[in-house]
């Protein structure tokens, strides 16, 4: 470490202060009568138009960690790291029809979380609890990982110690506590402006300084030609893994509670449809960001210490004047705050509605509910900071890997549930356990290989599972999450058939077919102020009323 870079640090601190002020002012923005209702605090009044939704979802889905880790992956693994692009291409047409159904049914029935929906649809608090727990467990390490992004820029600026990280998160915690979802929505404007500015400058300036794109891809080619497997193109055995990882990640993304929180905050169905066409602009940016990894190779960047995540900050430092590097760092740092805020709100919603109100205090008032949600969001963030400071960050990275695999196990209940109730609630529960067990077992048995092909770690070394381990005569590997989902679905179908044959009750559907296509102007549509006067999350009261 050769001291702190004062110019960079000053710019980062100033921009951070601007964002902090915005975070607090956000509570007055598009103000509702009271923020003390969970829906107001947690969903921003559910009234975000096309633009705000675009910024909010963009800030939510394309996180700081992505911006740091994807180029780091390209730097280390070559073409395989580019899976982030097909992943974010496939996702929008894939969920185009699905998310609007979720939006409609949630607005008719007053659902705030995916577990609310599952509870009402399948008449099963137990299944809802599983969905809620899965969501919380998958989200926590994701929040912690946002800190890894901030840590990388702090390291690059020469700032040592853990205090700055704690300060950053305390501020984040305070303004989310104060303003709810409005804070990240407003801050996302700043974050995205800085990110796009940085990327546009980077793809123009850096290649010209490195001798053009030919030189950049040439340098990457040269680096990888020495090792095994990795390269500027995928090896024949890596293609199936690449495609399944892209598909599996795409299926998982909109099952994450923070994505669903962003979706539900949109003001109508058309806003969401338009966003499915507008959000891919971030995917283009992500493609450019991924190539920063190759630029780092061409520039001869060496990561700070052992931390591969520092290659992008170091590259910026070498290529940009200090003041612009400061802006770029602020973009990454602020980029960590937006998703971290939304994720902690989403996790808090899940806990409050599907665990606290369902199992701990059934008669909670809206005020108590909002209070619990706020406190939970604080606890979640403190937990994330603690995880990074006291436990090896590698643990969070491993957990996040697991997170993608386990969140996929809620797909049959949440996503298929939006279309059909054919799967029995008992089948869905059995499938969840099967998928979970299969997924964790596979991840446990994936070793991490070093560049020379030797085993560095025995377990949790990645998410691509070698088909040869299943006794298949193939040298390819597949994304473990998809295989686990397959196991989940097979068990769910078999158990459903068995339960049907045994005539086990499948409960009462708390939703109607017309709910799924409801539009904003329909008489059944609920706007914010009142949903919480309804009975516990969805079904109980309503199911009774329907009989």
């Amino acid at each position: 470490m050769d001291g702190v870079n004062v110019v960079e640090l000053t710019i980062v601190v100033v921009l951070f202060l601007v964002v902090t002020v915005m975070g607090f002012v956000a509570s007055r923005w598009r103000r509702a009568e009271t923020l003390m209702h969970l829906d107001e605090w947690g969903l921003g009044g559910r009234s975000f138009g096309t633009w705000i939704t675009w910024f909010l979802l963009g800030g939510d889905l394309y996180t700081a960690y992505t911006f740091v880790a994807v180029p780091a992956l390209m730097f280390g693994a070559g073409a395989a790291g580019f899976f982030a692009v097909p992943y974010t291409v496939v996702i929008y047409p894939l969920v185009f029809l699905v998310v609007i159904r979720l939006w409609s049914v949630s607005h008719v029935r007053g659902f705030v979380t995916p577990a609310d929906f599952v509870r009402s649809r399948f008449d099963s608090p137990g299944l809802a609890l599983l969905v809620a727990l899965t969501g919380i467990v998958a989200t926590m390490p994701y929040i912690a990982l946002q800190l890894v992004g901030i840590e990388a820029i702090l390291k690059a600026m020469g700032v040592e110690g853990e205090l700055p990280l704690i300060v950053a998160f305390v501020i984040l915690a305070l303004y989310t506590y104060n303003s709810g979802l409005r804070a990240p929505a407003l801050i996302a404007f700043v974050k995205d402006t800085l990110i796009y500015l940085t990327i546009i400058v980077a793809v123009i300036v850096i290649p010209s300084r490195l001798g053009g794109w030919d030189a950049i891809f040439g340098a990457a080619e040269e680096k990888f030609s020495a090792g095994t497997g990795a390269g500027v193109l995928l090896p024949a055995t890596g293609q199936l893994g690449y495609a399944t990882l892209a598909l599996g990640s795409a299926l998982a993304l909109f099952l994450y509670p923070h994505s669903i929180t962003g979706i539900l905050a949109a003001s109508n169905r058309d806003v969401l449809k338009r966003n499915m066409s507008a959000l891919p602009l971030y995917s283009l940016a992500l493609g450019a960001i991924a190539l920063l990894g190759f630029m780092a190779i061409a520039a001869g960047v060496t990561p700070i210490g052992e931390d591969g995540n520092t290659i992008v900050p170091v590259l910026f430092q070498e290529m940009f004047p200090s003041w612009f590097a400061g802006i770029a760092f602020a973009a990454i740092g602020i980029g960590a705050l937006v998703p971290a805020a939304i994720m902690s709100i989403a996790a808090a919603n899940l806990f409050t509605r599907n665990i606290y109100k369902e199992f701990l205090k059934k008669d909670a008032t809206p005020r108590q509910e909002a209070q619990v949600a706020k406190v939970t969001s604080l606890v979640v963030k403190v937990g994330a900071v603690a995880a990074i400071l006291f436990i090896d960050p590698q643990f969070s990275i491993d957990l996040q890997l697991i997170g993608g695999v386990i969140i996929l196990q809620t797909l049959p209940a949440v996503a298929l549930g939006l279309y059909t109730r054919w799967l029995h609630r008992g089948g869905l529960i059995a499938g969840w356990f099967a998928g979970m067990a299969a997924g964790l077992l596979m991840l446990y048995n994936i070793p991490r290989l070093g560049p020379d092909g030797t085993v560095v770690r025995e377990h949790f070394g990645g998410s691509s599972f070698a088909l040869s381990k299943l006794g298949l005569d193939a040298s390819s590997s597949v994304y473990a999450g998809l295989l686990a989902l397959l196991a989940n679905l097979v068990v769910a179908v078999l158990v459903t058939v068995a339960l049907r044959a045994a005539r086990v009750s499948e409960g009462v559907d708390g939703t109607a077919d017309t709910d799924y296509t409801a539009e904003r102007e329909d008489p059944t549509f609920r706007d914010l102020p009142d949903p919480l006067e309804s009975a516990p999350p969805g079904a109980a009261g309503e199911a009774r009323a329907r009989r």
Partner: protein
């Protein structure tokens, strides 16, 4: 909003009931194109032809982003509701915003 707590009857016309709609359309099949193409890796796992120094693998996948945008826009426009319906939706948004003391 007393009607909100009453489940819709499913029949058309009744007050407090949601109209019966469908989100099915043959146009939706078009969405399969940008889902399937990027997953068929052998299609684009090659260097030639390069573009501005970029291997085919990289620029083709960025082109898929454009394909995704194109198809979702097309499906959105082809399956859009009538202008009268959309005006009703906008009026509902404005009405709710007004009643919340918010406004945009």
């Amino acid at each position: 909003m007393a009607s909100a707590s009453r489940p819709p009857t499913g029949g058309p016309g009744g007050t407090g009931a949601a109209p019966v709609r469908s989100d099915r359309s043959p146009w939706n099949w078009l969405l399969l194109v940008p889902i399937v193409l990027p997953l068929v890796v052998p299609l684009y796992n090659r260097v030639e032809p390069t573009l501005f120094g970029w291997p085919f693998f990289y620029w083709m996948q960025l082109l898929f982003v454009g394909l995704g945008v194109l198809t979702t826009v097309l499906v959105y426009r082809a399956t859009r509701r009538s202008p009268a319906d959309r005006a009703a939706a906008r009026a509902a948004v404005a009405r709710d915003a007004g009643s919340r003391d918010g406004g945009r």
